[in-house]
């Protein structure tokens, strides 16, 4: 089932009762999630991701805009009738019920034609348990389960009623680092096996990039970019998206374009044909640096971290807006650590120009607005 959001907006009353101002959690959000895809909703904390998810699930009512499941407008349909499965950030397993009872609970609530017999319910619950691999834990109460196991139970509970859409709110944030890696593969596998359209919320770009078919990057309730993870990474629409994706993060410099050349400081580092003269923010991905004797871009060398497979070159530049520039170069390049400076050539497809005021991406040939 595909999910379509049209102009979805959510306002919350201000916490300060006296002020009439409203907090805009989600602002005019429109996009479509194709059937059977795994979509990562990505943004920094407090950007309205969870509100978004709650509006899809029906727990929150949008201030304006519509939610469609397939061709059905479900904006006014209560959550219990939407047929969605939701996994909460803290799992919200009922503490007084065993894992099995937790998984059975959604089935017990089915009414009318969908009503199941006791045997069918058990069969379905066991199938769900097998899918998430918790068949031996069914008689345990949540307090006797580890975080990862609780999360599996929560996923089984969400899946058991065969939802049209599965929603996960920060599904991995309560797990330790190792379990997180393991569980995200698991999530991917479960999603593939069931083929259920899945939306998950995360603030961790690596998590979103690694398993999603599609990522939706949002900031302060506004949709910034949507697309396949690699496409978004390779072609960010603005400085925020460029900074948010990628680890180590993108290096941002103050620069300017003069006469078809890109300058960082006084150095002419790259050709920038078709871009009109203006001060710009320059984003360079860590892998965009190619060390070269006599390269066009020279930085002060701070240090080198050898990883084996590749090497991190840490350097500094007066026009850089952070602490240290980090360039990831192939281990075959030998960097002379005795020298004070290091020179690079830049890979044009790893260098992005952004409007200094608005942060919008400037592309060659486009009129710089």
């Amino acid at each position: 089932m595909n999910v379509r959001l049209e102009g979805l907006t959510k306002h919350f009353p201000s916490r300060n009762k006296k002020s009439k101002e409203v907090v805009v959690a989600v602002d005019d959000f429109s996009f479509e999630i194709p059937d059977g895809k795994l979509v990562g909703l990505l943004g920094p904390s407090g950007c309205g991701k969870s509100t978004m998810l709650n509006m899809i699930s029906g727990l929150e009512k949008p201030t304006s805009g519509r939610v469609f499941f397939g061709d059905d407008d479900v904006t006014d349909v209560p959550p219990e009738l939407r047929g969605v499965g939701l996994v909460f950030q803290n799992y919200a397993l009922y503490p007084h019920m065993t894992a099995l009872q937790n998984i059975l609970f959604p089935l017990e609530n089915l009414k009318g034609a969908k009503k199941l017999s006791k045997d069918e319910m058990l069969k379905r619950a066991n199938e769900a348990a097998r899918l998430v691999q918790i068949t031996e834990l069914m008689e345990r109460k949540p307090s006797a389960l580890s975080g990862g196991q609780q999360q599996r139970v929560a996923i089984a509970r969400a899946l058991v009623k065969m939802p049209k859409i599965l929603l996960l709110d920060e599904p991995l944030s309560n797990l330790d680092a190792r379990l997180r890696l393991q569980t995200r593969e698991e999530l991917r596998r479960i999603q593939r096996e069931t083929g259920i359209t899945t939306v998950f919320v995360t603030h961790d770009q690596e998590e979103a990039m690694s398993i999603s078919d599609m990522i939706v990057v949002m900031k302060k309730g506004v949709l910034n970019q949507i697309g396949r993870p690699q496409d978004v990474y390779d072609d960010p629409v603005n400085l925020f998206v460029a900074k948010f994706l990628g680890n180590p993060p993108i290096n941002v410099f103050e620069g300017s374009v003069r006469g078809g050349k890109l300058f960082i400081g006084d150095e002419d580092v790259m050709d920038a044909e078709g871009v009109s003269d203006a001060p710009v923010s320059v984003g360079i991905r860590p892998e965009g640096f190619v060390p070269k004797e006599g390269g066009r871009f020279t930085c002060d060398l701070v240090g080198v971290e050898v990883m084996g497979r590749d090497t991190s070159v840490i350097c500094n530049h007066p026009a850089f807006d952070g602490a240290n520039i980090r360039a990831i170069v192939s281990a075959e390049n030998r960097i002379d650590t005795e020298k004070e400076t290091v020179s690079f050539d830049l890979k044009p497809n790893k260098v992005f120009l952004f409007d200094k005021e608005t942060g919008r991406r400037i592309r060659p040939g486009e009129e710089n607005r």
Partner: protein, 296 residues
Amino acid sequence: MKKNGLKAWLYLLPSLIFLGFFMVYPLVDVLIYSLEEGYNSASQTFTGVGLYNYAYVLRDPYFMQAVKNTFILVMITVPVSTGLALLISLGLSSIGKLRELYQTIYFLPYVTNTLAVGLVFMILFKKTPYTDGMVNLLIGLFGGRSVDFIEGPYWAKMFVLSFYTVWIVLPFKILILTSALASVKKDYYSAARIDGASGFKIFTRITVPMISPMIFYLIITGFIGAFKAYSDSVALFGTNLNAAGMNTIVGYIYDMLYGDSGGYPSYASAAALILFAIVFTITVINLLISRKKVNA
């Protein structure tokens, strides 16, 4: 280790002394009194030792009436007050506006003196030469026959007493249950809604189990409190409870000690120990059930 043990006892000493003086000593004393036949507190003499006092108390029709009254009171008021308190706290936690106002109103009986409340109930229920009382006026309005709730038939008096007791104990229970309800995380309700549970089902399968420790706490303390009822009966029916037929076990104990027919500490002690045995048994049963049912 041994040194530490000594230290621990030293720290415990102050409370042990207090407990010993005010709990253990009186308890033992009561037990001794209850076994001394014909004990006279003025001359400190007694005629024999045995279970005579228990036999006397258990054969005393006033005591049996008091036991019956107490049991009826307990069986009516504990479930009714706990159930009502649950409904009211549910209501309180689901309304938005004027919540504080309602909370205050429901809490008023708690800070009102028992005897003052008794006076109000008199106005509501008592028949005098001038008026039949407010409740009877209402009954008359709907075409019913007026009933003397204070000096009339047994069931009418029992009704007033139960009504009164429920009203007195409600605020505390509401207070406890409202805070218990507030402590249930909202996520559980959201999850249950996503799981398609109806409002009633959420209540029985999620809300009640989640607050069950508090409900059981209220039931246990409710039982204990109701078994010890006395002042409520006095506030409504005066001090001569035996004549009114509305005595309670604690009332009987008091009468045996200080009442017009009093001066029998041995009988009072025996009755007190019987009450203790009853309360103890019921509490143990309660705890056994709760251990099975309550999800702590």
